[in-house]
Symmetry: C2
Subunit: 384 residues, 2 copies
């Protein structure tokens, strides 16, 4: 159930002193081969943090030996000096692992605009390299946490014997977002670089890109896949993509469940849309409506706010044919009042909103949260 | 300083019993001529409330005698019955004023999905028609309030002797938005219908469309202009548009200042953009970022969140050349740390954020608010 679940991956997580709290803050994930295929998906924010700039370049050849990650500092908006720090992290890691810096990806998360304490980082890398083990996944997952309250890990093993495992951090995000989502996924399936890249892009599109806690996108968001073929099995691209998407979906749900200050996890599903793009647009409009998200916090099945948000989309539908259900109770049915809203159960943490556009057969889902006092408190008091 | 500031307009506001609280909830604004030019700008939400559907049709000929407005019920998502209710409001008003229903615009605000109590509405229209006076503007402004804590009014008189006056309601909105913005503006300037329409569209584009409290758009938002030429003066279109935009800007600022739960009024200005559209896009991305809005609530000049929001735009700029100032202190200067953020004064209600894109000479401003506990509380507890 961790980033070292697949064969021939090692990891470690240590307290390097980057965080003032003394909590773990530096992690390594190492692919010991035989193959060293890698792919990455990065933030589309135009202010890319230094580690993102470095890692895009490092992964351009579809190969990597290791990922070094730190929490306690995002190394974002730090200019040329910050880029030199990211390069130094790769160099120190490469030196400890007897590889070259261009085979090392770098991820950072924490405060924007502050330089990393490179002496502490260097010592932490040496320490982590000395502690690498096939049981190190959980430690690595803990060392990348910031405002997360729990570490996030997942793994699946196929019937054919290959495994996909991964870890994630993030607690306030869009597709993904500002409190930064970092994900490392590993597999011992045998993949070529093109298959790894296509599978990672598709899995992200179906999972992390549909996870929208607060509509905010980070400068550091990164998802990296490492593959070594140690299982000796080459799955079909479809099989592998499905397994990878499963692990990513589990990690995405863990992120939403731990999102800053949330009281409800909300599934916004749009059904019977003319196109998947229409379904996604409507789901995203609803998931980003602060009024809707406040209503969920108030345990209010407010279909009016759902419609008002859907009405800002350009999706194909007839407003008089739309239906809205909360937790299975259709409170608005084809343009008119439906079942009594007092019938909607609101006891649990999970809330499902289904919007039926009656315009086709396509479907899409966005995972989000309610908007709560605690969200405001965390984000007003915690500088990121 | 009211919707009856211009010559030959009368108004009234009464308690019709639509609101359970017994507060004023029905208003009339009447143009007594000689001319009866009218123009309207309506929500772009695809779920248009019944009064919006009615008023778009009523104003299509560029003429209107009166506007009837109610609070206490939005008459939105109420189907054919709701449309019949909106028509009945116009018929009752026309009957009381000895005109025809197609000369009466209708505006409603309040809960979505609930039918109006038409007996109360009918009695209120009769009552208001009996109380119409040139001093009735303030009463009308009070009768359209919902979660507003104060009524909103403005007026300007030109040197040439014509006047523009207006009233507005709204306390949580986008361009404008869900707690519904209703605005009636009157003038005794002599205008043809085309000039009135063009001036209203331009004034809205410069003011209400740049007012973005929470990114949510209502089903009922309406801005109506009535003009009667009673001053005998025909201003140039430019002169009139400027005066109208001035009144609309005052009303827009009053809306932001009274926005639900806000602690700060925030001016997001983008300067030195390549195009006005670029400037607007960046300003809107920042103004809609919940993380940014929480930081303002926390009195935190968080330039990292400003950059992260700006970085999601497609505007032309070099991330390494962007600067950010809070209340005049440039905390991020051309891609690097600027003045110490502790120098930023945060005592007052007003906060100005200036983003310098260093990409041209165009400018745009969006007015917004911070995201606070009180915003969440009002919108979790108040069903709209």
């Amino acid at each position: 159930m961790s980033v070292t679940a697949a064969s021939q991956f090692t990891a470690a997580g240590v307290a390097a002193g980057i965080k003032a709290s003394g909590n773990p803050d530096l992690a390594l994930v190492v692919n010991t081969g035989p193959e060293r295929v890698a792919a990455g998906v990065f933030t589309s924010n135009r202010f890319q943090a230094a580690p993102v700039v470095w890692s895009i370049d490092a992964l351009a050849d579809g190969r990597a030996d290791a990922v070094v990650l730190n929490s306690g500092g995002a190394n974002a908006c730090t200019g040329p000096d910050g880029l030199a720090d990211a390069a130094a992290m790769a160099e120190l890691t490469a030196s400890a692992l007897a590889t070259t810096p261009d085979q090392v990806a770098v991820c950072s998360t924490g405060l924007i605009g502050v330089r990393l304490p490179m002496d502490a980082v260097a010592a932490g890398i040496a320490d982590a390299a000395a502690q690498l083990s096939a049981e190190g996944g959980p430690d690595a997952a803990r060392a990348i946490m910031t405002t997360d309250t729990v570490s996030k890990q997942a793994a699946v093993t196929s019937e054919a014997g290959w495994t996909v495992g991964g870890m994630a951090k993030g607690a306030g995000m869009l597709a993904p977002a500002l409190a930064t989502m970092l994900v490392v996924v590993t597999t011992d399936a045998a993949l070529d670089a093109a298959t790894a890249d296509a599978a990672l892009r598709r899995a992200c599109a179906l999972t992390f890109d549909r996870t929208d806690a607060d509509g905010c996108m980070s400068t550091n968001d990164t998802v990296i896949l490492l593959a070594n073929g140690a299982s000796g099995v080459t799955p079909s691209p479809e099989e592998f993509t499905e397994a990878l998407a499963g692990v990513c979906a589990s990690l995405a749900r863990q992120l939403i469940t731990d999102a800053e200050g949330a009281h409800h996890d909300v599934v916004v599903s749009v059904v019977n849309a003319a196109t998947e793009a229409d379904a996604l647009e409507v789901a995203r409009c609803v998931a980003r409506s602060n009024l809707f998200k406040c209503a969920i916090f108030g345990d209010d099945p407010n279909w009016g706010r759902v419609l008002a948000a859907a009405g800002t989309s350009s999706a194909t539908f007839d407003p008089g044919q739309v239906s809205v259900a909360f937790n299975g109770v259709t409170v608005f049915a084809r343009g008119a009042l439906g079942d009594d809203r007092s019938l909607v159960p609101f006891e649990g943490r999970d809330v499902t909103v289904e919007i039926d556009l009656a315009a086709g057969a396509e479907t899409a889902t966005i995972w989000t949260n309610d908007l709560t006092y605690d969200y405001v408190k965390e984000n007003a008091e915690y500088s990121s």
